[in-house]
């Protein structure tokens, strides 16, 4: 156990593992959520993120590990005694109860007085701006309104933590963006610790104070959105959170080397040994394309590349290129319109490439990560 401090986190998940039959769904999951913090569990379907949420809420039991709320061990408590507020993807509003009765359900179960319930429900109806809809049934409300009822219903009994299960999955893209801003500001206003699960990286970046990236039942990295995006610690995180190019090469006298490409590495190379297989990871927006004569030295130049495909993706241009390394590597580059106008390119053009920012990671031979694969 770690040394006990008096300031315990709102939620702490320690060494949690879970298998369904023979398949391990979660392996040694550890994280904390502080008071008022929003943590996003980001992962593809099957990564185990829903299972974590269900274990925290008590709807599923872990095989190993503990869950504590404000230092209180709730690992063995059934869901009803845990005091979590779960916002289900389908919202799970009780269809035969109107908005007020849905919100007051937890208070009625706790045998609060009529007056107490009425005033608390009133407060919450105002908080989530549903004054005009208080007598309506869930089926008469829009998706966003239903979601607000679900949040108010969970807040009513002052849970230790709010758990959101893919809360925007059932909504249109436009509404989704608006709602997640609304919900983030609401959560910041009420200062309740919250855990979101999502597979949408944009949602994770915008919602979370911190992001935990899950892959195959393990947490690959936890950090602020900036940290996770700018300094991915694994190839999976780099490709799952935003697009990334990955070049595989070897560590060769302080440099990354892959065929003609040599990128000198300045620091944090102590852990590599000579000849070790390493990966050069960089974002499509960090690649610059210049005609050979005006490629400046400030870039780490790669090699020449041939444009294979040019496509337009709204605000920017996306190029697929073939890099002239030892084996031909594919490369994805995105450029803003300003640069597209200055330096137009078409299929078959040959240009020098350079990168302004990159990460070097050890290359573990995982089947899922093929060299130069763009996810």
């Amino acid at each position: 156990m770690e040394d006990s401090d008096n300031t315990s986190s709102a939620v702490e998940v320690q060494n949690v593992s879970k298998s369904f039959g023979e398949t391990a769904v979660l392996r040694d999951i550890n994280f904390k959520v502080e008071e008022g913090e929003i943590l996003v569990l980001l992962g593809a379907s099957g990564s185990g993120k829903t299972t974590i949420l269900r274990i925290i809420s008590g709807l599923e039991t872990q095989d190993e590990g503990t869950v504590t709320f404000h230092g209180r061990d709730v690992s063995e408590l059934p869901a009803r005694l845990r005091s979590t507020g779960v916002i289900f993807q389908s919202y799970a509003l009780f269809p035969k109860m109107n908005v007020e009765r849905n919100i007051g359900y937890g208070l009625r179960l706790r045998k609060r007085s009529r007056d107490d319930i009425a005033s608390r429900v009133n407060e919450l109806v105002e908080l989530v701006h549903l004054e005009e809809h208080r007598k309506k049934r869930p089926s008469q409300l829009s998706g966003g309104q239903q979601q607000r009822v679900a949040i108010a219903r969970a807040l009513a009994y002052e849970p230790d933590v709010l758990l959101f299960d893919e809360p925007f999955g059932a909504l249109d893209a436009q509404i989704r963006t608006r709602l997640r801003r609304e919900i983030r500001s609401l959560l910041k206003e009420i200062n309740v610790p919250s855990i979101f699960i999502t597979h949408d990286q944009e949602e994770a970046l915008e919602l979370g104070d911190r992001i935990a990236v899950l892959n195959a039942g393990r947490i690959e990295q936890i950090g602020t959105p900036y940290e996770v995006y700018m300094y991915p610690q694994t190839g999976f995180v780099a490709t799952f959170l935003g697009a990334a190019n990955i070049l595989v090469g070897t560590f060769d006298s302080g440099s990354f080397r892959s065929g003609k490409v040599v990128v000198p590495l300045s620091d944090s190379t102590e852990s590599f040994r000579e000849g070790q297989s390493i990966k050069l990871v960089f974002r499509p927006e960090d690649v610059f394309l210049r005609k050979p004569d005006n490629l400046k030295q400030a870039f780490h130049s790669l090699s020449e590349a041939v444009v294979e495909e040019v496509s337009f993706v709204g605000a920017f241009e996306r190029l697929q290129m073939r890099l002239e390394t030892s084996e031909a590597q594919r490369l994805i580059v995105t450029r803003p319109k300003t640069e597209t106008a200055m330096n137009p390119l078409k299929e078959g053009d040959r240009v020098a490439t350079g990168i302004v920012r990159f990460r070097i990671l050890p290359n573990f031979p995982l089947g899922s990560e093929t060299a130069g694969k763009i996810v």
Partner: protein
């Protein structure tokens, strides 16, 4: 030009097939369903309303109707409770033999009602498998209890059959949400599961009750068909018809027909209201 015409006919023009097919449909139903029903009312009223009223208020007729409704009521109560319980267990838990139980529950629909009555006699009758051991005071065959047993048997799967699919397709997250909010299993069942089943429960009850009231085949075997003691309304109709008292039979038949019609209307129209969110 012709393509244009046929397009007109299908979208704007008068399509003769529509009224024609509806007419054929009604014409087919007329001798098979509508006329037999109409004749009950035509014959029943032909002797005048007074005669009809006298036949209906004959003590044996009133007794028969009452007996039918009371025995059906208890059979309905039992099968509703059982159906709800069985549906909940079978919808919630997966276990070895689950499908076999579902088939077993549904078997009575496939068994001829006379066979059902006969089977009950062979079990509970004076010389039956278990009946022979019963003390004389507790012989249940040829009493109203036998009628309830027969009704339970023939309507066994009905309430279950209506409730089960609703439970199976119910969004599980409703019950999970209730649990995370702090409800015990019983509170969740009462506040969340039951309201979702309201329509199915009312529907299953009406179906069971209507089917029980009309039961003939099994009842005639187990009840003894004693006028004023164990004679239900359908048995009364049959007995009076055999005795040549057509008016007496007809009066009770009208009551049963109207009753069925009312139940059906409730089922048909109240369904939306009961299941509305």
């Amino acid at each position: 030009m012709s393509a244009n015409l046929s397009r007109l006919r299908h979208t704007h023009g008068f399509d003769i097939v529509k009224p024609l097919s509806v007419a054929v449909l009604l014409l087919m139903m007329l001798p098979l369903i509508l006329l037999p029903l109409a004749s009950i009312f035509i014959f029943g009223m032909s002797a005048g309303i007074d005669k009809f009223w006298d036949s209906l208020t004959a003590p044996d007729a009133i007794f028969a109707l009452k007996l039918s409704f009371v025995t059906s009521f208890w059979a309905t109560v039992f099968n509703l409770v059982f159906g709800l319980f069985a549906a909940y267990v079978l919808a919630r838990y997966q276990f070895w033999g689950r499908n076999a139980i579902i088939v077993l529950i549904s078997i009575p629909t496939a068994i001829p009602t006379a066979v059902a009555g006969f089977a009950l006699l062979l079990l509970w009758g004076p010389y039956g498998l278990l009946g022979q051991y019963l003390p004389d005071d507790y012989r249940i065959m040829f009493t109203p209890y036998a009628i309830i047993l027969a009704n339970i048997f023939v309507t066994f799967p009905l309430a279950f059959g209506v409730i089960m699919p609703v439970l199976e397709t119910m969004d599980r997250s409703l019950e999970e949400a209730s649990a995370t909010i702090g409800a015990s299993r019983w509170q969740t069942f009462w506040h969340v599961t039951m309201p979702a089943l309201r329509g199915a429960i009312v529907g299953g009850a009406l179906l069971t009750f209507a089917r029980s009231v009309g039961e003939f085949g099994s009842t005639i075997l187990v009840s003894g068909n004693l006028s004023g003691r164990t004679q239900t309304a359908p048995l009364y109709i049959f007995a009076k018809f055999n005795e040549g008292q057509v008016e007496a039979a007809n009066a009770v038949a009208i009551v049963l027909a109207v009753f069925s019609f009312v139940i059906f209307s409730i089922l048909f129209f109240a369904r939306d209201w009961l299941e509305a969110d």
